[in-house]
Every structure is written in structure tokens, then in C-alpha cells.
């Protein structure tokens, strides 16, 4: 990828378009740029892998699985690219055990809006050398740089996984996820088979991965884990939802944009917020509230993209549309 010669244009990095509507709308008339795909380095004994940002999660997972490893980014659509997953920063449902997307990233290489090629972080599993550009990059929605490659931390793939269902699964040691859509909790337990079965012995065996809500208008609420049940109960009947207990994410979907706006108001009332993932009302800026510390965020944006060429509008750093 070489961005020289594209000096004057507005640029929009494109992965697999599986999360294309996340956040603010894509810039109109932007030149689309694609990152290279493929595994650049993989040393299983170091549990690190370096891939081109255009590599799909499906491909990444296939390569890691051959060595009994994984990187639990868990996008909803496995065609999503590593670059897209990092730029959107949406963690998968096994976050409770495996951590958020940002904790899986060791090194990023990207090109800034003014054409500097930058490496941030480092290739080892532990590193505090210099400022944490990888974490800054995760969730920045392509507004600070065009990602070219990333080094990710891998883990041994746990040998056995099973879903259970129960009224209350808080006593499970290190569950991978606890999903709740209003009735029983569904808990995923991963590990050695004897441990998984022993932990699940007191629960019903009919647990399963509940389907995450689908619909034309979709988003995720982020609230403190302590209020996730209250927040979910307060959602209108026209909103389908599934909550990640212990995390504070509530996946929501609706058939009308107005319902998504109502869900956002509920999130705000519970001290959280809602990120639009798809659809929404025409004036929806993806966030529905002024970003916290917006002056500081504007200075960071200007520092990495002084001319505002990278994905303008994806983050509401200028005007804020009331929800």
C-alpha cells in the first residue's frame, strides 16, 4: 500500500464492509484504500502473529487453529478483516474471559493522514516502550491512520467448550461469556473437559449460544456491568436485545430507526451510551452524544491527520447531532 500520489484526496480504508455502518457515516466521494492481506510472520512458540490488515478473521483463525491457537477477536461476521476489527474496536462475546480487542494488539503499522509511516508498540507479548499507539488506534474508526499490518497476541485454544443454562450463573469460575436475553442465562464454559462438565453439572445442559439480535437498525449499548439488567429491562418492546452479563454490553436491534433512538435514550439514562452499528435515523451520527474530552480528541485527530483526510465524519469530532 502506497498512499503517495493521493495527497489531495479524502481516504476511506475498506476491509470487508462487514461493519461498514459502525459509527458515523462513511465519507462521500472518498477514495477507498485496501490493506494487504496475508500472514507475514507466525511463530507459534512465541504466541504472536503478524498479518496484513486486510487479512480476514476467518483466515487468521484457520492459520492459528492449525497450531492449536486462537486470537479471540470474535467478530460477528468472520469475513471481517483484522484492520476493520481493530479500527471499529468492537469486542466479541467471549470478552468476559478473553479480554477486549485492544488487549490483543501488540504492534500496529499505519500511515498517518500526512503520509508518515508509523510503527507503534512492539512485537513482544510484553512491552511498555513509548506511548501506547496500538490502544489509541483500536476503535479510532480509521480517523488517525490507515492500518497496514498488526501483530496480535495468541493463546492456546482451550480444548473443550460447552454451553449451559440457568437462572443464575454468577458462581461459575472464569466463564467465557454469560449471555442473557431476559429469561435464563446462557453461559459458555471453556477449558479441560472434566472441569467444564464439573462446573456445568448443576446447570441445565440445554444451554446454547443465543442468537444476537438482528435487524435493519442495530447497535450496542455500553453501560456499567452493575446496571446492565436494569438498562435491558427498560428497553422498549420494539427492541430486541441480548446482554453480556459481567461486561456491560447490550446488543440491540429493531425494525425502525426511531426504536434505536429510544434505546439510546435508555442507555443515556443508565449512564451509558449506544454505538450505532447499522441503520438508525438519517441524522444519527453513530454516537448520539458529544464525545467526552472532545477538545483533547480533536487535538489528537489534528496531530495525526492535520488536513482531515482520513474518514471524516466517522467520529463526531465536529458537529454533534442530537439524538
Amino acid at each position: 500500500m502506497d498512499l503517495t500520489g493521493l495527497d489531495a484526496e479524502v481516504l476511506a480504508p475498506v476491509g470487508a464492509r462487514t461493519q461498514w455502518e459502525v459509527g458515523g457515516p462513511p465519507p462521500a466521494g472518498a477514495r477507498e484504500v485496501h490493506a494487504p492481506a496475508g500472514v507475514l510472520a507466525y511463530e507459534p512458540a512465541d504466541m504472536t502473529i503478524t498479518v496484513g490488515a486486510g487479512t480476514s478473521y476467518d483466515e487468521l483463525d484457520r492459520v492459528l487453529a492449525e497450531q492449536g491457537q486462537e486470537c479471540a477477536l470474535d467478530p460477528r461476521d468472520r469475513r471481517a478483516t483484522v484492520g476493520g476489527i481493530l479500527a471499529c474496536g468492537l469486542s466479541g462475546t467471549r470478552r468476559l474471559r478473553h479480554g477486549p480487542v485492544r488487549d490483543h494488539v501488540l504492534e500496529v503499522r499505519f500511515e498517518t493522514g500526512d503520509g508518515q509511516r508509523v510503527k507503534g508498540g512492539g512485537p513482544t507479548v510484553k512491552n511498555v516502550t513509548g506511548y501506547d499507539l496500538p490502544r489509541l488506534f483500536v476503535g479510532s474508526l480509521g480517523t488517525l491512520g490507515i492500518l497496514q499490518q498488526a501483530t496480535l497476541r495468541c493463546r492456546p485454544r482451550l480444548p473443550y467448550a460447552r454451553w449451559f443454562a440457568a437462572e443464575d450463573t454468577t458462581s461459575v469460575y472464569r466463564p467465557s461469556t454469560r449471555l442473557w436475553a431476559g429469561a435464563e442465562e446462557h453461559v459458555l464454559i471453556e477449558g479441560v473437559r472434566t472441569d467444564v462438565d464439573a462446573q456445568g453439572a448443576r446447570f441445565a445442559a440445554h444451554g446454547h449460544m443465543p442468537a444476537l439480535p438482528v435487524g435493519e437498525h442495530r447497535g450496542r449499548i455500553s453501560v456499567a456491568p452493575g446496571v446492565v439488567r436494569d438498562c435491558a429491562h427498560a428497553l422498549g418492546s420494539d427492541v430486541r436485545w441480548c446482554a453480556e452479563l459481567g461486561v456491560g454490553t447490550i446488543h440491540v436491534a429493531a425494525d425502525a430507526g426511531a426504536a434505536l433512538s429510544d434505546a439510546r435514550a435508555v442507555a443515556h439514562a443508565h449512564g451509558g451510551w449506544l454505538l450505532r452499528e447499522a441503520g438508525g435515523e438519517p441524522e444519527d451520527d453513530g454516537f448520539g452524544r458529544e464525545l467526552p474530552n472532545i477538545d483533547l480528541m480533536r487535538r489528537i485527530k489534528t496531530a495525526f491527520d492535520p488536513a482531515g483526510r482520513l474518514n471524516p465524519g466517522r467520529l463526531p469530532l465536529d458537529a454533534v447531532v442530537a439524538s
Binding site: 488487549d103 508509523v118 511498555v128 513509548g130 501506547d132 476503535g139 454468577t170 469460575y173 477449558g191 480528541m297
Partner: protein, 447 residues
Amino acid sequence: MYARDAGVAVGSAAAVCFPADAGEVAAAVRVALRHGRPFVARGSGTGLAGGATPLDDPVVIVTTQMNRVLDIDTDARVAWVEPGVLNLDLSRAVAHLGLHYAPDPSSQQACTIGGNVGTNAGGPHCLAEGVTSAHVLAVDVVLADGSATRLGGLEPDSPGYDLRGCFVGSEGTMGIATRVAVRLTADPPRVATMLCAFDSVDAAAATVSGVIAAGVLPAALEMMDARITRAVEDFVGAGFPRNAEAVLLVEVDGLDGGVDEQVGAIERVATANAATLVRVAADETERALLWKGRKSAFGAIARIAPDYYLHDAVVPRTKLVNVLRQVYAIAEAHDLIVMNVFHAGDGNLHPLLVFDRREPGVWDRVYAAGTEILDACLSAGGVLTGEHGVGVEKRDLMPRMFSADDLDAQARLRDAFDPDGFANPEKVLPRGSRCGEMQRVPEGAWI
């Protein structure tokens, strides 16, 4: 006392203050700004990279008076603490709830949570649990302009850029933490701590690589070489074998099946690498004693020589055998004694060069050997620091790891937080990091 931290750099403070709350921190920052003076945040001063060393005659703001655990939410497993709370005190405060704070630096009896946030501190148990940044949910800060705000939050994601992630590990160059929300971790139902001994450092290092390659990720995996093992035995009598050339302290935790399987896998790898001893601690007393030995290592060194210079670098775990050989060879070439006690599981080396500063010219040799060791680590695909930070110690080595454009990008981020450079100046980034900085024409020099 406030002219340095536990590293080697010495500075001088214009004033030292001990705020009692966030308002007083902000007031201290504003006073410094009004007088055109920079400010430096300081916890217990246990940092090893000179991050808290006052340069440019700053106001030193010491947070040790702000040492209250403010709130513990058992259900959400979150605690709000003031920055001066000691790391171990936090774990003690939640122990009765079956919880602990996972990052556990060797200095955890003395170091503060605020300092841990500043350096993005690690510790033995960060192998499985991750370093400080993975355990900090939100930070209330006073920024470099004296304003107060919250970065991050208790909700899983914050809208916009991850400012919390930027702040953690920024070594006081983006502001001062006044309250920290940390994630608490459930105590494991079972813990097995193993002691393995070897006739060679190579065999121990190969075991480390072999354990990771076997798909086992222990809770902690520490290595000590012969010199440090004997020094620790003389100091605390932890039960380490005095005749071993290297020992590994390996801990696995979790449920019975997983613990048994991992203990078995580690035994097999150690045995295949000709371990002379593989023992699982029989009870909590023995386990605590083994860890006391490991965490007393730096205290024990005083018995060998009066001074030591401790490095902190990380190499890929597959390169441990080769890099350790180079570390010993470099020390020998400079006629120095090196001891190794480190977080082997994540490749985080801590070579200790021990010396007596009264010996003429010795510091030059120590410094030269230290730099060569870092170069060897970088050549093996490693990084300059794994958990201690850059501070002033490694500041001028940054160009060995980062290009001019890389450093410029880091400087842009730092400047976005602190445009006028008042927060802990002269740290982390070497002069000349900003593109064009070297070419800047002095005022009045028209050309």
C-alpha cells in the same frame, strides 16, 4: 530524597508538595504553571527508569497522602482507589472477598497504584493476566493545563479514542491520576506452585520455551540463575537448591482438571530438558516461602555487591536461550558479574549487573555492558522495556527501536495532551523526536 527514584538518574526539585485530594493536585499544577515551572508526579519513588526524577527544577507532586480505597463493588469486581494506595494494600483490602488485584510488581509492598498506572507496571502474574493497562477501567486525572477530567469509564467501551489506554504507561507526561478504577480478579480455586532445577541456564531457558510451545500458559513462570538463587537462599532460606545452575518457579492455577494437566505438561517438558528437580509446593506455607524468595531477590543482592544496575528488556520467548548466552558473554567481556532473575514466561529479562561504585571506572563498564545487552535484545526482535518504563534511563535509546517518524508520531500524541510540555518534561522521548525539531531556527537568527 525527592531528587531521584530507585533508578540511577538524579535531578533536583524546585518544590515538593503532598496534596490530600484531587483539588489540591489541580491547585499544585496551577501554581507550577503560574510560575512557569513543570511538574512531576511521584508515588513511592520505586521506579527504576528515572521516570520520577525531577528535571528542569519542577514542582514534585507526591501522591502518597492520597491513600484511601474509596469504594469496592464486589459484584462488579471494581475498586475505586486513590493513587497513593500501595499495590499490596489493595489486594489485602479485597482478600476477604476472594478477590485480588492481579498486577504484582516485585516492589508491591512499596509501590503505589498511581505509579503502576504511570509505568503500566507488570509483575510475575502478568504472564496470564496482562499488565496494568488491562486492569485499569477509568482514571480521574488532572491534565497538564490543570483541568480535571475522567478518562475511560466503568462501561466496557468509551466513545471515541481510548484516552485511558493512552494515559496508562505515559509516565506522568500526560497529567496526574487522582482516582483510579481497577478491575479485581477472582482468586483461583486452586494454585500449584512448582520448583524446577537445572544444571544449566540453557536447559532452564529451553524449558520455558518448551512449556509455552506445548500450549501451556502458566499464571507465572519465573527464572533465577545460580548466583541469584544462592544469594536468595543465604538471605531468606526459601528452599531453593544451592547447587542448581538455574531454577524455574512455575505457577498454574484454576480448576483441578486444568491444574493437573498443566502440572503434568510442565513436568514432562522439564524432565525432557534434564531437570534435576521438579517439585510441587506441598502447602500454602511452602508456596509463600518460594514466592518470598523470588520477591526478595533484589534485597539479597546487597550481599554480593553494594550497587546493582537492573535492566528490563523483552525478547521473543523462542530466543531466550540465545539471548541469555549473549548476556553472560557481554558481562564477562566487561569483567562484570551479571545475575538473572526474571519473568521468563513472557521473555521479560532483568539482567542485574552488580558492582561497587567506589571502583574507579566501573560505571562506564556497567553502562557499556547494559547498552550492549539491550542491543542484543533488540537484535533478537525484542523491545527496550517490558514493565519499568523508559523514563530518562532509556530515553536516548529510543531511536534504536523506533524510526524518526515513529518517534514523531509519539511526540504528536504527547503534545496533544500537553502542548506546552509542562508534565514531566525530558522523559520518554529524546530531544529531536519531533520532525523539524533539530532544524528549528533559534529566535532572532534570521537567515
